[in-house]
């Protein structure tokens, strides 16, 4: 931007200086026809860039506040209903079954690990939500997408990219029926 009046010659030169540093007479015609104050232009673009990065910073702060909001409205200690999710005879030892608990939730996975031993976890891997596959003989749950491994007894991460353990569904066996009684957020 060229100031009117009595501009400082040094500043005027800075404002009209072409980017390659050659004198005006040697500049191509297009540059003479459309002179741009390159130093100023560059400076303004940096300023504009900084402004947009600060907007990004604002968006990240809003995201952080959203997590606070979600954590405040999340029900804590809410009693889960007791629900029959399967019968003992339904599954052979080593067998598995998916179910939803509570209704409308993401799918859970019930696995029979022994004659009277059952475990149940979220079926979705905590990495990228792929369904995990039980490998009872190896004592683990395997995520085939990225080779994530979870411990079948605890749900803890054994290997692979997942950072969080699988949420566990607490179970009770009464007679021939298996009840889901709650969800444990496993921090392991």
């Amino acid at each position: 931007m060229i100031q009117k009046g009595n501009p400082d010659p040094t500043e005027l030169e800075l404002q009209t200086k072409p980017p390659d540093g050659r004198p005006q007479a040697e500049q191509p015609r297009w540059r003479k026809d459309f002179p741009i104050a390159w130093p100023q232009d560059e400076w303004i673009s940096r300023r504009e860039l900084t402004k947009f990065i600060v907007l990004t910073s604002g968006a990240l702060a809003v995201g952080q506040l959203w997590i606070v909001f979600k954590s405040l409205i999340r029900p804590r200690g809410r009693p889960f209903p007791e629900e029959v999710v399967a019968t003992v005879d339904e599954l052979p030892v080593g067998g598995a079954k998916t179910f939803t608990y509570p209704p409308g939730s993401p799918p859970r996975l019930l696995v029979r690990t022994g004659r009277w031993e059952f475990v149940a976890y979220d079926q979705q891997c905590t990495h990228l939500q792929c369904p995990v596959v039980p490998q009872v003989e190896l004592g683990r749950l395997h995520c085939p997408c990225h080779d994530g491994e979870f411990d079948l007894k605890t749900g803890d991460v054994l290997a692979g990219p997942p950072q969080r353990a699988l949420p566990k569904v607490t179970l009770e066996v009464r007679g021939s029926q298996i009840y889901a009684t709650g969800i444990e957020e496993n921090l392991g």
Binding site: L14, R46, T50, L60, A61, Q64, L65, E185
Partner: protein, 73 residues
């Protein structure tokens, strides 16, 4: 029109320095957001509020730097 405090040649390093600091702070905020999200999804809500406070502090720093940048003229 009063003369600016700095010549344009002097302002450029200042602008570059501010840009560098702003980018650094945003990267820190991004890391903070991903770490907090991971903790929150894992059921750990203890870090949520301190992390939000830190992120707001970073935003405040960025806004201060941007204000300084606009007042360089």
């Amino acid at each position: 029109m009063s003369r600016p405090r700095f010549l344009r040649a002097q302002r450029m390093p200042i602008v570059n320095g501010i840009l560098f600091l702003v980018v650094l702070i945003v990267v820190l905020q991004l890391w903070l957001l991903t770490a907090t999200m991971n903790a929150y999804l894992g059921g750990d809500t203890a870090v949520v509020i301190p992390a939000a406070a830190a992120s707001l502090l970073c935003l405040g720093l960025n806004l201060g730097l941007l204000r300084y940048l606009y007042r360089l003229d």
